[in-house]
Subunit: 375 residues, 2 copies
DNA sequence: CGGCTCAATTTGATCGATCAAATTTGTCCG
DNA sequence: CGGACAAATTTGATCGATCAAATTGAGCCG
């Protein structure tokens, strides 16, 4: 026999379609006795309402969309895997499905929104890699389509703007700040920063944390000297690290694991054993290089790194988005600008529409095999 | 004004709904003059048929499902990014959408199939990581749901079984074979193999290619000695490499980039410069270690690696799946067991239902910064 | 007992497309 | 001119759910 429908189940049970529908969507409207009888029948028949029919009538698809970027890098892009998985899982347990799509540019992405809204009736979108003056958020905002962004909205000056749409981000500055504090605690004082070229708000944010921590520790004078820019590649990390070491740095905080990896490679040759295993200042062989993103490579090589809580970010994005979709539109009223996860956890209060999560530094001991004399 | 519908457009044009529908789905049934008039109106109004309404009537959702595995490793899992992106892109340009979902186990995955088929009416599934005696393919096969697998069906003995469902895979043995040939060409003869513990059909396949190439070159006698198993981690690679070197290996073919990375780290310490830069036999500083999967890490570190054509695999999976969905069910008749991409390219002939793609070895020169004297 | 209220349930219309069958239009030819 | 036959177009029913309004039933009270 084929899939049961409301009508077929209704006939079998000698009740009306609407009663069964109510059991599912408004149980309080149904007399307890009937409700239980119907519920039992639903379970027995394995009845599941058709999303298409439901969508046709209600104009809601229970479907969220997200653009999949091409895997450009891979070392840093590795956290996308984790983000996507957590997102899918969270959406799923909130009763939503996740639809992926591709686009070559932001304009193309907007065209896809339009199409997916018309054709598939998606209920909302999740955006990543927010940019200053983002055409996508403008379009969605004007149209009134619900969405949430992983990444702060950066205005043209690189500062945080407040356009009021939901977003979740990780506080990069707090991450590099903590990394510096860790290195200070290990006895380092000449701590360099290896960052991306100017122009990236994310990069500027991470650099800012380093500056703040250095200044707070009384090393403000070193900031102009020990901050270096390099292209975000392994080779860039190598040359940047060489420069920093020549300027007297004994420890490095990097904007990415690619850079950190390059630095590690370079320093391993330049000062075998000494630098890498933390000799100048750090006890018990701790690395004096800290990367960013805590990619699998860092874990594999024993490289310390700043870990972003991407799973928490993904879960919160879904929480905010589904909250808005549940009818709680807008919300300039409540729950803005939280700086910790507390507001995010409580299910009863509305989730923070803007949330900045703190990363944490994962401290690692470099692979023993990198130390001489073990082969 | 709101979204145009078939009815609203029909009223405007003074034709019937069905005529417009025919223009879209069966243009030949409409008189050219009318057709063009309608097409113009469709374009002008920006009309797009509602997928939900269409699905309700036709019972086809134009939606494919794929389970997203948790990012366990990341070094090796990195190719998933590329696969997923290519898959999404191919599905999109074939007019299909891609829905993701999560599951904790294969049984749970099957439960998700059931739910997604009932609720969302997915048209088919893409499976990854095929296993011997796969419950998922059994279930889908029995139920008659279309699907395609990235990965050969391995029977319980680890050999290829032929259950007739569509699959695409990469010929791992051919990859390791080519890697060995490359190393032979560089003058190496004692070429070791660093693989996973027994039990993985994929691992056995890769080892097999090494054995074959070694035997073909007249080094069959070395096979029992120079094949070593290690856990698929960087640490495992390090200890395995040490063992192989102690047995006289001068070059290594590995089952993964994780293993290769570990080997590289280890050998760099043990025989600085000499081994890594190919001194024993290879000229011009070529690496004597070859990894597998060509992950971003390998690229970053200048590690040679066997590259899987995952994009081509993804495109072919979509091609086969959509071909079946277009009504060409089954097909024990035509297009089986192709061993190259030729059959895959021709759009007129039916796509091969089973396709084994050849990987290629990406030869790299180790990072210059790893050579002494450059810092 | 009649009438009123409120809870529980049912009925008919609707969402936006396609299918199958009916109808209109057009062409050709005796 | 009329009739057969094919081409082009239209009509009514349908997919499977929800919405809004109508109906039935129970309980209460004067």
């Amino acid at each position: 026999m084929s899939r049961p429908t409301l009508a077929s189940l209704a006939r079998e049970l000698a009740v009306s379609r609407q009663t069964i529908s109510n059991v599912l969507n408004a149980p309080h409207k149904v007399k307890p006795a009937t409700r239980e009888r119907v519920q039992a029948a639903i379970a027995a028949a394995g009845y599941r309402p058709s999303a298409a029919a439901r969508q046709l009538r209600t104009q809601r698809s229970m479907n969220l969309g997200m653009r999949l970027f091409p895997a450009t890098d891979g070392i840093n892009g590795a956290i996308l895997d984790r983000f996507l998985h957590a997102l899918t899982e969270a959406a799923q347990s909130a009763g939503y499905r996740l639809t992926l799509f591709c686009a070559d540019s932001d304009e193309e992405e907007v065209r896809q929104y339009e199409q997916l809204l018309d054709v598939a009736g998606l209920d909302g979108f999740i955006l990543t890699s927010s940019k200053p003056d983002d055409v996508r958020t403008h379009w969605l905002g004007e149209r009134g389509t619900p969405f949430a962004v992983f990444g702060r909205p950066w205005d043209a000056a690189g500062d945080v703007a407040v356009p009021g749409h939901p977003w979740v981000d990780v506080d990069g500055a707090a991450g590099t700040e903590e990394a510096v504090r860790m290195l200070l605690g290990q006895g380092h004082s000449r701590i360099g920063f290896l960052g991306w070229p100017m122009g990236s708000p994310v990069g500027a944010d991470r650099r800012h944390g380093w500056e703040r921590a250095m200044s707070a520790a009384g090393y403000a004078v070193d900031v102009p000297v020990l901050g270096v820019e390099a292209e975000d590649t392994v080779a860039g990390g190598a040359s940047g690290a060489a420069l920093l070491v020549s300027r007297g740095a004994t420890a490095l905080v990097c904007s990415s694991d690619s850079l950190a990896l390059g630095a590690m490679e370079k320093l391993r040759e330049a000062q075998p054993g000494a630098f890498l295993s933390g000799q100048p200042a750090g006890p018990d062989g701790r690395a004096a290089i800290v990367g960013f993103d805590d990619t699998p490579v860092a874990a594999a090589l024993g490289l310390s790194s700043v870990a972003q809580p991407v799973e928490a970010a993904a879960r919160h994005i879904i929480r905010v988005l589904t909250h808005e979709l549940a009818g709680n539109v807008n919300g300039a009223a409540a729950g803005n600008a939280a700086t910790n996860a507390a507001a995010a956890r409580d299910a009863s209060t509305p989730p923070a529409r803007q949330l900045l999560l703190a990363p944490r530094v994962v401290e690692r001991i470099p692979l023993p095999l990198a130390a001489p004399g073990s082969g």
